[in-house]
């Protein structure tokens, strides 16, 4: 893991250039440009707000009552999730997409998923800034709490990078991995209290929440952005441990398989 992180750090300029190419490439030739990074999740948030507040209002919305209403509640929780969702979409195929480059230049392949995660983080940061502007306009922003999010963001990126390393490598052996990731993603999403408050979950399902490392990140985001109750130390510790474990496991898978990449691309 150390060797992998060291090589990515050494080629950070390359990661930056791949990241820039990815972000610019995605929004090139579109009039709204980077704003799509916000509009796309806004649409999703709109659907959830409509669904949960209009159709199933009693249990869900009452428990999720926060300053700014249910929309802000979902939006705040969506920000960390965007990192996962963005990476899940692009990580499995990223080595294949850069196959020509990887075949030609002796660059460390680990920089490619790193750029994918950075792009996903960019979407989340853009969405977060928009959220901050909306919230700041109503004078409710707490800047100090936002600083506390920085180490959590690092942990979240570590986890997503670990998972991205693993799926990008394994997808070379069988494209099933990419399909499996898209199939599994909704389960993870609904197991994470993004569009509903944790309290709305039936008591029997509490264990699922306790195992989900995203729970800590989502709670922390709401704490910093909306003044919701802070996540418990246990939940945060679990998120941190799971993140580091995911990074270690992903890096291990990547290092074990990278010798095959040139033959599989």
């Amino acid at each position: 893991m150390k060797a992998l992180l060291a090589e990515v750090w050494q080629r950070r300029a390359l990661v930056g250039s791949l990241w820039k190419g990815d972000v610019l490439g995605r929004y090139a030739n579109s009039a709204a440009g980077l704003l799509w990074a916000v509009f796309a999740p806004m649409g999703l948030i709109g659907v959830y707000v409509l669904l949960f507040s209009a159709l199933l209002p009693s249990k869900v919305v009452g428990a999720g009552a926060v300053a700014g209403g249910f929309g802000f509640f979902v939006f705040a929780g969506m920000i960390p999730w965007l990192v996962v969702a963005g990476a899940a979409q692009n990580a499995p195929g990223c080595l294949l997409a850069h196959g020509a480059t990887l075949r030609r230049f002796a660059i460390p392949p680990s920089v490619v998923p790193a750029a994918v995660v950075l792009s996903a983080l960019t979407d989340a940061v853009v969405a977060g800034m928009l959220f901050g502007m909306a919230l700041g306009a109503s004078g409710r922003l707490a800047p100090l709490k936002l600083l506390a999010l920085a180490p959590l963001a690092v942990l979240l990126v570590a986890m997503v990078y670990g998972l991205s390393l693993a799926v990008s490598a394994l997808n070379l052996y069988g494209r099933d991995v990419a399909h499996a990731v898209s199939a599994a993603l909704p389960f993870w999403f609904f197991a994470t209290p993004v569009c509903y408050p944790a309290e709305a979950l039936p008591a029997g399902l509490g264990w699922a929440l306790a195992l989900n490392p995203m729970d800590g990140f989502v709670q922390a985001a709401r704490w910093a952005l909306l003044g919701s109750p802070a996540p418990g130390a246990g939940a945060l510790a679990w998120s941190a441990a799971a993140s580091l474990a995911a990074l270690a496991a992903g890096a291990w898978v990547f290092q074990e398989t990278r010798g095959d990449f040139a033959d599989l691309l």
Binding site: R11, A13, L14, S17, G21, A100, T101, L102, R103, R104, F105, A106, I107, Y173, G174, R175, D176, G259, A262, D263
Partner: protein, 418 residues
């Protein structure tokens, strides 16, 4: 591959390859891979292809190694291993320096970006700082001759322009070892000469080059050493002159149906469909007195005797002889119909002889195609020969300084005008 920093010891070669082996595994499906993993050691759910085996060589600074061999003989795999992209299955490959590659025509360019933007991108991928790139940029642009076009998207370039940019980039970035696959002889004559000059310049600066090609001419122009690969194994290796000599000699031993063509195309040539009724039993290259000869002098006579056997009676067959240079350039050709030799009805064994009263070729090895045809101008797709020995015989021509240079012998005299 291990890449260690440049050593100051003069004794250490830049490239050291030892007992290199590369095996590709093919799985019928991803599931087969999983099955093999689950079944543990001993179980095999894949098919193996040995792309390289037993490759060992060293290359010092300022040396150029030529890799010669058919498609699929392992040249490209060896280049990819040297570039550090592919790992060998076993054995070692050490390059004590930086590598620059020119392994495909597109050179990894992004077609949507301009020439200049592609230089930025390539510099990033090569780990070249922007300062270093800005120092090199004017020289790269000048060498490529692209000028204003550097601001246009690469999509709008002709393939020659793309190649020139790729070549210009590859030979100007800092490197110790340059890997080139096949592309040297692409591009127009002027650019080819410019490229060759730059390559010689690089060699004299102490850079090393590994060049893969089918073409002997290409390799001898640049390389100090040659390695002939046959199905991934080293067939011949050594200094260029020696290898070429042994290569041609061993070729000649193959019952005179020899040649680069025959040897290079061994096992891969498209089976020639023939009508079969009339077979070419043998071809003899004879001197003016009708004696078999190994070499022929420019300006002297050559006889090509074609021995044939007709399995059944054939009406008015035509025999054709063509002479090619080793790169496929057709130099001369004639046939019995053009020579107004009517063979009538042919049956059993017989022979025809073509005599060149004066051989107008200069020093070199040329390849003869000998065929027996039912018509003079058959379309290559629609019609088949009775028999065809395509570029199967070597005509070795020797000439001296007085005969001149080039490929065509033109009898001449010099004199002083008053």
């Amino acid at each position: 591959m291990e890449t260690s920093p440049t050593s100051s010891e003069p004794a250490r070669p830049l490239v050291r390859v030892q007992d290199l082996r590369k095996v590709y595994r093919f799985y019928a499906s991803p599931l087969a891979r999983v099955r093999e993993l689950v079944a543990g050691r001993g179980a095999r759910y894949h098919r193996e292809h040995t792309a390289l085996e037993g490759i060992s060589f060293e290359l010092g600074r300022g040396e150029a190694l030529g890799l010669l061999g058919l498609n699929g003989s392992g040249k490209s795999t060896l280049l990819r291993i040297l570039s550090g992209v592919t790992r060998p299955t076993s054995g070692s490959c050490e390059v004590a320096g930086r590598v620059s590659t020119l392994l495909d025509l597109a050179a990894g360019f992004n077609l949507d970006l301009s020439g200049h933007q592609n230089l930025d991108l390539a510099a990033m991928l090569l780990g070249l700082g922007s300062d270093a790139l800005e120092r090199l940029r004017p020289r790269i642009v000048e060498f490529s001759g692209l000028g204003e076009a550097m601001d246009d998207p690469v999509r709008t370039y002709s393939s020659g322009m793309v190649m020139r940019l790729g070549f210009a980039l590859a030979v100007h970035v800092p490197f110790d070892l340059l890997l080139i696959d096949e592309v040297l002889l692409v591009g127009d004559e002027v650019f080819q000469r410019q490229s060759l000059r730059r390559i010689r310049e690089l060699l004299s600066e102490g850079k090393s080059i590994v060049l893969a090609s089918h073409s002997l001419g290409d390799l001898t122009a640049v390389c100090t050493k040659l390695l002939l690969l046959e199905r991934g194994r080293p067939a011949l290796a050594g200094p260029t002159g020696e290898v070429i000599q042994r290569y041609l000699e061993s070729a000649e031993r193959q019952a005179r149906r020899i040649t680069e063509g025959d040897r290079l195309l061994q096992g891969t040539s498209v089976p020639q469909e023939t009508l079969g009724k009339l077979r070419i039993a043998g071809v003899d290259l004879l001197d003016g007195a009708g004696r078999p000869a190994e070499e022929f002098a420019s300006g002297g006579p050559v006889r090509v005797r074609i021995r044939f056997r007709a399995e059944e009676p054939v009406e008015e067959p035509i025999f054709r002889v063509q002479i090619f240079r080793n790169d496929g350039l057709w130099l001369a050709g004639t046939n019995t119909a053009r020579g107004e030799l009517a063979l009538g009805r042919v049956e059993g064994e017989g022979a025809v002889t073509l005599e060149y009263t004066q051989l107008n070729l200069l020093d070199g090895d040329y390849f003869l195609s000998v065929g027996a045809w039912p018509d003079e101008y058959p379309s290559y797709l629609a019609r088949r020969p009775f028999d065809l020995h395509d570029r199967a015989y070597v005509l070795r021509v020797r000439s001296g300084r007085p005969e001149g240079g080039g490929i065509v012998f033109s009898p001449h005299t010099w004199r002083i005008e008053n």
